[in-house]
């Protein structure tokens, strides 16, 4: 017998894993460059579509397609940083917001032009999707492996990112740039390279979130819009630049969204988390786990 509230709770928790990957991509760029990427949702959407076309068009196994999509999105992050972000790195905050908004518009309409407006989902007969999309009965809840995968993946990602940033030379360089750009520059760190790498990593995480989401949810060009606000809220809840905080914030967002959709009106679930977000900003704008790196 399925316990529906528990099922909803677990679904929210697992969805939190997807949100965590996208939000960590956002918080990385936010923390290091003090740049809010308003195109992050559209980048997640691109990750979804790239996974889909790799799986269908190139006959890749869907799980492998997710990984390849992540690499392609990494390259896209490097490209975007070089072409768009570098020229405006020193301009006012508002310009950066507007440029990223314009970038989001471009990506969304590009997807609309290339793949059309119709909803597309991953065929259940492709490679490993055959057994990954089978629903398993756990007694009180039922889940498919596609829904189970993102959360452990997000945990592994968060831990490895933490190790990368605290243990490796390049990671320490990025953190140095995040704390004090001028000092890092004077210490011989290549700030430009650190920025480019940060964008590559951040965008690849957004793409990874999209890839995992593609395995159990359909893609359409406007899907990114829903992601933007959720990732922003997750990042602000956790404190910009704090990876663990962002992770917890994303899990909280997933659960709050699922539970408010179940216990209140489904249509008003967004109002619930938006109100929570605004109240949170009013009370504690630095987030639950403020870091110095957030600046």
């Amino acid at each position: 017998m399925v316990n529906i509230p528990l099922q909803v709770f677990v679904n929210g928790l697992l969805m939190g894993g997807i949100y965590a990957m996208a939000a960590i991509g956002l918080t990385l760029i936010w923390g290091v460059m003090n740049f809010i990427n308003f195109a992050s949702g559209q980048m997640t959407m691109f990750g979804m579509y790239i996974t889909l076309i790799l799986a269908i068009g190139r006959n890749l196994d869907p799980v492998a397609a997710v990984m390849v999509a992540m690499i392609i999105m990494f390259a896209m992050g490097l490209f975007v940083e070089k072409i768009v972000i570098e020229p405006i790195a020193d301009s006012p905050r508002l310009f950066q917001i507007v440029v990223s908004i314009a970038m989001g518009l471009i990506l969304e309409n590009l997807a609309f032009m290339i793949w059309g407006a119709e909803i597309k989902s991953m065929p259940k007969s492709l490679g490993s999707m055959k057994f990954l999309s089978k629903v398993i009965d756990f007694g009180l809840i039922r889940l498919s492996p596609t829904r189970l995968m993102p959360l452990p993946a997000a945990i592994i990602l968060t831990i490895s990112l933490h190790y990368f940033l605290t243990r490796t030379r390049i990671g320490l360089g990025i953190r140095g740039v995040a704390q004090n750009t001028t000092a890092a520059y004077l210490m011989g760190i290549d700030v430009r390279k650190a920025y480019t790498l940060t964008w590559g990593l951040g965008v690849s995480f957004m793409g990874l979130a999209g890839g995992f989401l593609m395995l159990f949810q359909p893609a359409y060009p406007a899907v990114g819009l829903e992601f933007i606000l959720i990732s922003f809220i997750a990042v602000t809840l956790g404190g910009a630049g704090s990876y663990i905080g962002t992770f917890i914030g994303s899990i909280v967002m997933g659960v709050v969204e699922a539970l408010s959709g179940f216990f209140l009106f489904p249509a008003l679930r967004q109002v619930v988390y938006l109100s929570l977000f605004v109240i949170m900003l009013f009370i504690r704008p630095t987030g639950l786990f403020p870091t110095k790196e957030a600046g």
């Binding site: 768009v84 508002l94 440029v99 471009i106 967004q270």
Partner: protein
């Protein structure tokens, strides 16, 4: 010196008269072509709303995206008052402005402390929440024989009356709307020109440039930030009522449109943020280009190309001319004069 003053004064007068004559004659000349009339209305309308955005984001430096919510509240207030109680549109416009000021200032008051990006995010969340509320909020109207629902995703129709200035609706022609929007815009610019030169206007710029310095000199920051939002809310809601009367219909997805908000922001920055004539220049350039692109590519397989070209253009302009077109052009003109 006095002679030069006189000539510049005459020049100014002449220019104003020429502008006024052009504004009166232009819609009349284009009266047979509704497309161009619509274009002029759109340019004026976008300028009007962009100036409202410019007051908060440009002059006082509060980057916020709640204007489209206040715009929608203005549109909905006057429309619902007309549809439910038969209140005159002009009275509805004023009531809508009061409601929008109340909601706008009421929301900004606790958010005044928020800096930069957090304010932008909070106002973005506010707009998104208001849109979802209006999407799900239906009003039940009991009539003698049946009950009907209005509002929600279906939207609200403005009851059709005769064509008159009093009822603020015309069905056969768009020219009166064009003149009304122009008058609104002129009144707004008269206000803005006086405002920018006033002490309050200088306080706004001082707060934008350095909040702490302004505070230490005794400027009441909270008061002026709320004032800026009240002015912006007033203009936004007036534009909202105009838009509702122009379409004679309101609907949440179209009215509370975040992309529309971003368009307003983009064209202001394109023209020049914090410049008096920035919004005007921005919409004179942006609106015709976006309309032309939409006419060219809309409905074809390249529909998405409109937004892509606009986005690329914006990124190019932002990365090459960061100060906006107004300051760029005025620099060129200065060089020519010398």
């Amino acid at each position: 010196m006095s002679e030069r003053n006189l000539s510049s004064f005459l020049n100014k007068k002449l220019r104003l008269v020429a502008l006024a004559v052009m504004m009166i004659i232009l819609p009349y000349l284009l009266r047979d072509n509704p497309f161009y009339i619509d274009l002029i209305i759109k340019i004026c309308f976008y300028t009007f709303l962009a100036t409202a955005w410019n007051i908060t984001s440009g002059y006082i430096g509060m980057i916020s995206f709640n204007h489209v919510a206040l715009f929608g509240i203005g549109a909905y207030t006057s429309t619902l008052l007309q549809a439910l109680y038969g209140v005159n549109a002009w009275i509805g416009m004023l009531i809508g402005a009061l409601v929008a000021i109340g909601v706008g200032v009421g929301f900004i008051y606790p958010a005044v402390r928020l800096k930069g990006l957090f304010l932008a995010l909070a106002t973005l969340a506010f707009t998104a929440a208001v849109q979802i509320l209006f999407l799900n909020w239906r009003i039940v109207v009991y009539e003698e024989t049946w009950t009907k629902y209005i509002g929600g995703a279906v939207g609200v129709f403005i009851p059709l009356k005769g064509e008159s200035l009093l009822d603020f609706q015309w069905h056969e022609t768009k020219i009166p709307y064009c003149y009304i929007m122009m008058i609104f815009l002129v009144l707004q610019y008269i206000f803005m020109i006086r405002f920018v030169k006033s002490q309050t206007g200088h306080f706004f710029v001082a707060i934008r440039e350095d909040e702490d310095a302004a505070l230490s000199l005794g400027v009441n920051i909270t008061k002026y930030k709320l004032l800026a939002n009240a002015i912006a809310a007033f203009f936004s809601s007036i534009a909202g009522t105009f838009f509702a009367q122009y379409l004679l219909f309101v609907e949440p997805v179209y009215i509370f449109n975040l992309n529309f908000m971003f368009e307003i922001a983009l064209l202001t920055i394109l023209g020049g943020l914090g410049e008096l004539y920035g919004p005007l220049l921005g919409s004179i350039i942006y609106v015709p280009i976006s309309t032309a692109l939409r006419v060219t590519f809309g409905g074809t397989t390249y529909t998405g190309l409109t937004q892509i070209i606009l986005g690329i253009l914006l990124i190019i302009i932002m990365t090459r001319i960061p100060g906006g077109l107004y300051s760029y052009l005025s620099k060129i003109f200065e060089r020519i004069q010398i």
